[in-house]
Symmetry: C2
Subunit: 354 residues, 2 copies
C-alpha cells in the first residue's frame, strides 16, 4: 500500500514469529490468501463498514493463518489518533541536527504522521530511557541518532513491530537499518586537500573517540596521511569533548612548540567554530578544513573550506526507509552511505606558513 495516498495501516508478525524482517508478510499476503482486494483487507483491519460477514471471516482467517495481529499503533490509529514517528537526537543545540530534523518532519508529515523528538544529550542511559518512553507512548517508528553502542534493549520493541532506522551513527549489537555519511572518505578527502596544498604537519581535532563519526573521521585523516607517506605524530591528534575550552587548548598546543602544525582539520562543526576563533588570533596563517558546513562560512576571512554532509538527505533517507519498513516492503537491514562534498572557500587553500 502507498502511505502517500491511503491511511497508515501497520501489520506486524506475531511475537511468536521471533524475527522482524525474515519473510515478514504484508497486507498483500493477507489479501492473496483470502482471495480479496487490498481495500477489503484494509476495511476489515480498520473495522470499517462495507464488508460482508462472510468476507470478513475469510480475511480474519487469513490474518490468523499468517500469524499476524494488528499492532498497538494501529489500534491507536483506529481510535482516531495520529500516527507518530519518534526522532532521538544527540544534542538539541547542535545546528547540524536542524536540517536533519526538519527533513524527517517533512517526510513524516507527507505520510500523515506526527514527529516527536527527544535528546539523549550524548548519554547512552538517557537514549535508552527516551527510546523506551517513546515506545511506551506508541510511536509507530523511530529514527535514532544513537549515543550508546549496545542497542539490545530495543529487541523486544523490534519484535513488537516498532520500525527503527539509525542515522549518523550505526546501531550497536543489533541488526538494524542505518544511514551514514561517508565519514572516512570525507575526512580523507579534506586532509588530502591540505596535503595537496603543501602541508605535512597537519593536526586533527575531533569529538570523543567512542563516537562512531569521530573514530571514522580520524581513520580518514590517518589514511590520507598514510597515502601521502607522511608519518603522523601523536601530538597532532586530539580527540575529546567539543566544548570551547578543551578544543582551544588542543589547538593552541598543536600551534606551539618548535615544529607546530601548519594546518588543522576539525572533526565537526562544534570543533570548527572554536578552532577558527583560535586561528583568527594567530600571527601566522594556518590552513584549515572542517568537517560539516557552518552558517556564514563564506563570509569569514578567509572563507572556511569544509567537507559538507547533506544533513537533510541523511534525515530524509532514514525516514523514507522507516516508512518502507512500516509498509512491509523491506526484507533485511541495510547500511546506506551518503557522499560528502568538499567546498573550497580559501582557508583550506592557504600554503604552509614556513
Amino acid at each position: 500500500m502507498d502511505h502517500r495516498t491511503g491511511p497508515l495501516i501497520v501489520l506486524e508478525p506475531s511475537r511468536l514469529a521471533g524475527t522482524r524482517y525474515g519473510n515478514r508478510p504484508t497486507m498483500k499476503d493477507v489479501a492473496a490468501r483470502a482471495g480479496v482486494g487490498l481495500k477489503t483487507v484494509s476495511r476489515v483491519v480498520n473495522g470499517e463498514p462495507g464488508v460482508t460477514p462472510e468476507t470478513e471471516r475469510r480475511v480474519q482467517d487469513a490474518i490468523e493463518a499468517l500469524g499476524f495481529r494488528r499492532n498497538d499503533s494501529a489500534r491507536v490509529l483506529r481510535k482516531g489518533r495520529t500516527a507518530s514517528i519518534g526522532l532521538v537526537l544527540e544534542d538539541l543545540a547542535d545546528p547540524f541536527y536542524g536540517p536533519l530534523s526538519r527533513a524527517v518532519e517533512e517526510v513524516a508529515r507527507a505520510h500523515g504522521a506526527l514527529l516527536i523528538n527527544g535528546s539523549s544529550a550524548e548519554d547512552p542511559e538517557r537514549e535508552q530511557e527516551l527510546v523506551l518512553a517513546l515506545c511506551a507512548r506508541r510511536v509507530d517508528g523511530l529514527v535514532i541518532i544513537p549515543a550508546g553502542d549496545d542497542h539490545r534493549y530495543l529487541e523486544p520493541e523490534l519484535r513488537a513491530g516498532v520500525a527503527t532506522v539509525f542515522v549518523d551513527r550505526p546501531a550497536g549489537r543489533i541488526d538494524a537499518d542505518v544511514v551514514l555519511s561517508d565519514n572516512h572518505g570525507g575526512a580523507r578527502d579534506g586532509v588530502a586537500h591540505l596535503i595537496a596544498h603543501g602541508h605535512r604537519r597537519i593536526g586533527f581535532i575531533g569529538d570523543m573517540p567512542r563516537i562512531h563519526t569521530a573514530a571514522e573521521r580520524l581513520r580518514g585523516y590517518r589514511a590520507a596521511m598514510e597515502d601521502a607517506g607522511i608519518p603522523v605524530a601523536e601530538a597532532w591528534m586530539s580527540l575529546g569533548a567539543t566544548d570551547p575550552l578543551r578544543v582551544r587548548r588542543a589547538a593552541e598546543e598543536m600551534l606551539s612548540g618548535p615544529s607546530p602544525v601548519t594546518a588543522i582539520f576539525a572533526g565537526n562543526n562544534r570543533v570548527t567554530v572554536t578552532v577558527i576563533r583560535v586561528l583568527a588570533e594567530q600571527r601566522r596563517q594556518v590552513a584549515f578544513v572542517g568537517f560539516d558546513d557552518i552558517e556564514l562560512a563564506d563570509l569569514l576571512q578567509p572563507g572556511v573550506t569544509v567537507v559538507a554532509q547533506d544533513a537533510a538527505a541523511l534525515g530524509r533517507t532514514a525516514v523514507e526507509r522507516l516508512f518502507r519498513q512500516l509498509d512491509g516492503s523491506l526484507i533485511a537491514p541495510e547500511k546506506i552511505e551518503l557522499p560528502t562534498r568538499l567546498i573550497t572557500r580559501g582557508s583550506g587553500e592557504l600554503p604552509p606558513a614556513d
Copy 2:
C-alpha cells in the same frame, strides 16, 4: 513538594471545579485535612505500602472532600513510566531554539521528567494537532512557542490538569503563563543605537506581521524613530517570510533609489544572515543591527552588532514555572518579560555613508 528530591506526583482539581488556577488545592491541603504528613499522602496516592487502612481511608476522604482526583499522568507514573514534558517549537532548524530547547531539557531532567519535542513549522493547525497529540500521549505539562493566535482548543486539557507555559510569544484568547523577551524595548534600543550614530534613513526587515515578536519589534522600531522625531517612510519597512529570496529583495529595494537607507535593523536571526550577505556585496558601507545573536558574529568584518535575547533563560524560566504549576504552588497566570542586551561589535557603529 519538591520535585528535585521526590518523585513527580501530580494532583489536579476535579473537572467539575472548572477553573485551573483559582484556589487549586495542593497535596499539602490533603495532608492538612487528613491530619497526616505529605509522605503519607504520597504513599496513598501512589498505592505504596506502609499506610494503615484507617489512615488510608482518612486520606481518601480528604482527597474526595477537596474534589481531587489523580490525573492520567500520575496513573502512568504508577505503572513505572517516566513523567514527561512536551515542548512545541515553531521551527526545528532555527538555531535560536537550540539553547532554549536544551535549557528546557536540562530543567526537565533535573525534575526527573523526560522532554518530548515537536514542531508546528509555523502552522497553527499543526500546532494544535501536535499539542493535542502530546496531551493524548499523557505529557504532564507543555511549553509552547505558539504558531496560532487562538488557544481555546487547549481549555479542556487545562481543566484536565495539563500544566502549560507559553514562551517567546503569548497565548491567544486564553489566560496562560507566558515568558517573553522584551521585544519592543530591545528593538527600540537597537534602532536608537543606529540613530545615535547619525542615521535617519533606517530600514526594518522583519518576520510576518501576524507573529507577535515581529509586530512588537516593529513597534520598537517605530517608537525609536518617533522618539528621535524622524518620520518613517513606508518603503523602509518590510515584513514577510524570512526566506533568503524575500529578505534579499527587501534589502536590495531599500538600498536602491534616490534616497536609500544608510542602516538596516533586522527583526530576527534568519533575516540577519541574509541581510549581512547582501551588505557584504554593497559598494558603500551600510550600518547594521540585528535582533538575536548569531554564531561567529564577532569574527565577521565588521563584527555584527546585535540585540541579544537569552534563549536559554527563556526556556529555563518557562519550564521552571511549569514545574511550579505542577506542584500546585502557582495561583494565577503571569506574564514574565526578560531583558535583552545590546552587543556592539562594529556594524552598528558605522556612520552614514552619505
